[in-house]
Symmetry: C2
Subunit: 654 residues, 2 copies
């Protein structure tokens, strides 16, 4: 193994951009002419002056009669004026008759005004009789006439270089008769991934340690969505010579090169060494979290940007560093996106010397936007589909307080129904079946944290399954304690069976909780705050009582009690992969991983619903579905050990 | 000419949509499988369940040493613990050693955890010595370890049918190893324009009455931006038989047909007659303004939507009626866009029985969004590039009051610098030259209205050239009268020469304003509120004084005094096209149209700037440019009769 290389001086995002712009001068890479009809999404490389007036001639805006307004002075319902109709002008026709006092010309919407006429009277106010028209209204000069050049004047600067061409720009260009435009050539960008661990999606992961390649595809898709021309180039091996050779070659063929992975300061920092050999390193390491292992270099006057390997980290840097560079290369006269201002609803801790990319979901409450931080780790990928946006929390503080106003770069439109709370395998399926899944966002943080999010006004719905040990009652005691009376109702959800799961065939002969005290049994626990953890502790407490022990004393004897996993499936997976011998999870998770188990009983999985959200159409549809016993049973039947509660969908509290 | 056909019962937008959904059932037209790497922008046709856990195995989140957390209990800076390093795991490697008490395994970010280890200590807290590592910190179980399946659990519903695939979805799909996905086939939509008046962009307009085809290109671009597959089909002639034949054929080959033009109830309602022959008319005529001549029919169970011919009208209907239908055909699980809530800053009149599509520009003032209505006519095309969005003002009121909250569908990001006021030929060029044009939006409404927009807090800058007749002073008296002291400053702009223009060679022998009293001279005036109109009236007033006449009496003798045009170029164009004999405009406009003229004097074109906007970077850059005499002179030199003012860029009031 090669020696480790630590990061050089870390730089902040602003300094990183400054160095890139100073040394690489990202700028358009060429100009080409395209037909206006094919120009959508392209960036104008020229200023466009109107070659003609628009409208090109005085034209009627209505169907009616072109007149001299002076002819109709005083015309009214009870004092109509009769004009002789001396001709007509249809759309596209060149007017051949002239209007004089006492005459009119029939005219269609969009037709050119005949000489002499200065107004059009709408046909609603006219009655045609033989060769005459009886007009029951006067008109003012220019009434219903669109004068040539008043919308766009010939010679005026209509669209400027750097404008992205949308359908509106296509409309204006074609209206002015401009059949083709000069646009900037799309920058061609080579996109590599790096690492021997990467497997092509669609192929199997043949052993532990391998992961699928993500960044080559997500970064290319991101570049394409910006309007650039990405070329996914394949995976580079962890080999400095090969990386150097292929990046060097790509720098000759493309306008820019993006690499990801292989940039960490740890084992095998191949990209750094390859780029150091090929050109000048601009920076190595960013003062951001995630995103530290980012690296930029100039090779043959081309920018090589090396992104972190973790997909979420890579996309954070792509959004904040790659995007402005690519937009400059596209020639886009960017108006920096201001982002959405939102109020952070819980304190967020961060490293004091680094800025933090924080994925959030947004809840709009009246005029206010609330930002709820998504739980994430640097290796997470789910924030890329769950987050409504990413906030960049600046350096020089070790936390950002609840109530702070933060700026969020939006990734997608905020959801209509925000579900924050306990994780459940069947929840997304039920939401899908009742048709609200596309409108909803589900954030799994555990029951207790979900109730807190509801109290903060962020969550519309908080799934919860907290068992009050003293009373044996689910959920309501907790809602009372959190002061949610009047602010939330509790709606019965469904029941799911908890099991004590162990390896298939039960090689360690586990029969119940007392076996967790054995030296040879490694337990895996659930996280504090989760309903299942409350259930586990209740079981252990009653076991302690039976054995005449203190609870504290007893749990010390449970090996692995301190090993907390956050979801049912994580528990089942840990047992299936041999990392633990026993754990408590829902039957459906145990069944999915082919585990053996003993049944422990039914747990009640309910929904606290904010009273503010009771008239939210998506929430209403969901609650109606819960009350439809047949439909709910059919959704739940896909999961072993799930069934409706006798009161599913009913408000059971307060 | 065929007889006119009036509209049948008009329907509102909601009813129009209801009928389309009832009779056509817009729905996805098929499913196809695409590689995930090429799926950007497509719509998922299947629910995607996670085939594997993510992360697929427990992995280290940092570079460091995998340990048993129990081995490091109590480890501190002054009480380090020494562990024997028994191996290493790189990224992509399958761990082959097990960690037991007292040992550690070197591990890289992203590498799989070796058996026995339950945490990773970061290398920052370690010191390597020969075969040992000295650790100066304890770790809690799971510290720096990302547990398999905790980000995405195997078997969970990750993405649902109807989701648009963005780069985030590509990331998640590839992370889960999903190499291809089922997506809905893009609906193939034939797009026709109709009308003998239409000319291809790029060709010349050979005579009066002809206009360029716009809708075929703008509607196709719009459909493409939605993600559909538009096929621009050409222009249909005003011939019922041909229209019927080609639409019928297109209904067989495509999933939907969009036609535009030829739908007015006036002369030549060919599309209506063709569709009546081919199938069932769903509605003919919408209660919207613009957009009334809209028509839908079912032909061979395919929808044929006929849009109005005017480009802005067509796009309003495309946005509000075509879009939801196409999105349903794309299988998109749409979250209806809520639009932006904004405060209307001036009263808008509308027909009581029709809803109004109102193009607006948006000014963000703190948390508030102000909506300023753009002046437009049904035949305008410029709102499609000027408007930040379109508000739909509902029926059943004949006006919407100033201060009302309205909902705006955004077309583009609001500008950074909103310029509302007097029109000037050189303004866009100066803004372009100082680099703020892409950040700015210029709305031409005349000086007086511009100052009002500034008083309302909407305009950052209001170009103005109002001459106070009594004092002969430009602009400042008007700012005083409007109470703008303390709320705005006046910055000197530039000077431009006004001329009395007439036909080339001066065939009517016009020498000055007294010639406007002649019977054979047709004058063309400027609109009330414009600075030039104030100038004209001042000239006529002094002429009246000289002749010993009343002003009112005098202007009655000026033929065409009541004919108002809104811009300098419109005046010049009217004279060039023989619609008038004389008019007042800037020299540059007269020169552009090759007119002859007499010089009248210099006009001062200044800029009222809101004090709130003085620290707006775009505004600052503009004001700096005005002070740079050489740069400004160079920009203005492109226009005849333009020059800097001796005090250009200086604050001259208050």
């Amino acid at each position: 193994m090669e020696p480790r290389k630590l990061f050089h001086e870390l730089v902040d995002l602003r300094e990183a951009l400054r160095r890139i712009f100073e040394y690489v001068h990202p700028a358009p890479v060429g100009v080409e002419e395209v037909e206006t009809s094919r120009a959508l999404g392209r960036v104008l490389a020229e200023d466009v002056y109107a070659p003609i007036d628009y409208p090109p001639f005085d034209r009627s805006e209505v169907d009616g009669y072109a007149v001299k307004s002076a002819s109709l002075v005083g015309a009214e319902e009870w004092n109509p004026v009769e004009l002789r109709v001396v001709g007509s002008v249809g759309v596209g026709e060149e007017p051949r008759v002239e209007v004089v006092d006492g005459t009119a010309v029939e005219i269609a919407t969009g037709a050119a005004m005949p000489r002499g006429a200065d107004a059009v009277v709408m046909e609603e106010f006219c009655e045609r009789r033989n060769g005459f028209v009886i007009v029951k209204r006067s008109v003012v000069p220019r009434e219903n006439v669109h004068i040539a050049g008043t919308d766009i004047a010939r010679g005026s600067l209509v669209l400027s270089r750097g404008t992205r061409i949308g359908f509106g720009e296509v409309a204006v260009l074609t209206a002015l008769g401009i059949g083709s435009v000069k646009v900037f050539r799309k920058p061609r960008i080579a996109v590599f991934s790096t690492g021997n661990e990467l497997v092509e999606p669609g192929e199997p992961l043949s052993r532990v340690g391998l992961v699928y390649d993500v960044n080559r595809f997500s970064v290319s898709s991101f570049l394409k969505s910006l309007g650039a021309d990405p070329h996914p180039m394949g995976v580079l091996p962890d080999d400095v010579d090969v990386v150097a050779e292929r990046v060097d070659e790509a720098c000759k063929r493309f306008d820019m090169v993006v690499v990801s992975g292989g940039t960490s300061a740890g084992l095998g920092d191949v990209v750094y060494r390859a780029l150091e050999r090929l050109g000048k390193i601009l920076f190595h390491g960013l003062k951001t979290k995630p995103g530290k292992p980012t690296l930029a270099a100039v090779v043959n006057s081309k920018l090589v940007l090396a992104l972190p390997g973790f997909p979420f980290s890579a996309m954070c840097i792509a959004l904040h560093l790659l995007k402005p560079v690519v937009e400059a290369m596209m020639g886009l006269a960017t108006v920096e996106e201001p982002g959405v201002r939102a109020t952070l609803v819980k304190r967020v801790w961060k490293p004091i010397d680094r800025s933090l990319f924080l994925p959030v979901v947004i809840k709009e409450r009246g005029a206010e936007a609330l930002a709820y931080p998504l739980p994430f780790r640097s290796g997470s990928v789910s924030p890329l589909i769950l987050a409504d946006g990413i906030a960049l929390l600046e350096e020089r503080s070790d936390y950002v307080d609840k109530g702070s106003r933060i700026t969020v770069k939006l990734l997608r439109r905020p959801s209509r129904m925000l579900v924050v709370g306990s994780n459940d395998i069947a929840l997304n399926t039920v939401l899908r079946d009742c048709g609200v899944l596309p409108l909803a966002r589900v954030v799994s943080v555990g029951s207790t944290e979900g109730l807190r999010a509801l109290a903060e006004g962020v969550a519309d719905v908080a799934p919860t399954h907290l068992l009050d040990e003293e009373t044996g009652v689910y959920n309501t005691p907790f809602l009372e304690r959190m002061g949610l009376r009047g602010r939330a109702v509790l709606v019965k959800g469904w029941r799911r069976r908890l099991v004590l799961a162990y390896a298939p065939g039960n090689p360690k002969n586990i029969r119940g909780f007392e076996d967790l005290l054995r030296e040879d049994v490694l337990f895996v626990n659930r996280n504090r705050g989760s309903g299942t953890r409350v259930f586990i502790d209740a079981q252990l407490r009653s076991l302690a009582k039976r054995l005449g022990m203190e609870f504290r004393e007893l749990v010390k004897k449970v090996r692995g009690y301190e090993l907390e996993l956050p979801t049912h499936t994580a528990v089942a997976a840990a047992i299936a992969h041999g990392r633990a011998d026993a754990g408590v999870c829902v039957e459906a998770a145990a069944a999915m991983y082919g585990l053996s188990y003993v049944e422990l009983g039914w747990e009640e999985y309910d929904f606290a619903v904010s009273t503010d959200s009771l008239d939210n159409p998506a929430v209403r549809r969901f609650l109606e579905y819960l009350r439809d016993r047949g439909a709910l049973r059919s959704s739940l039947s896909k999961f072993v050990g799930y069934e409706p509660h006798p009161r599913s969908g009913e408000v059971v509290w307060p």
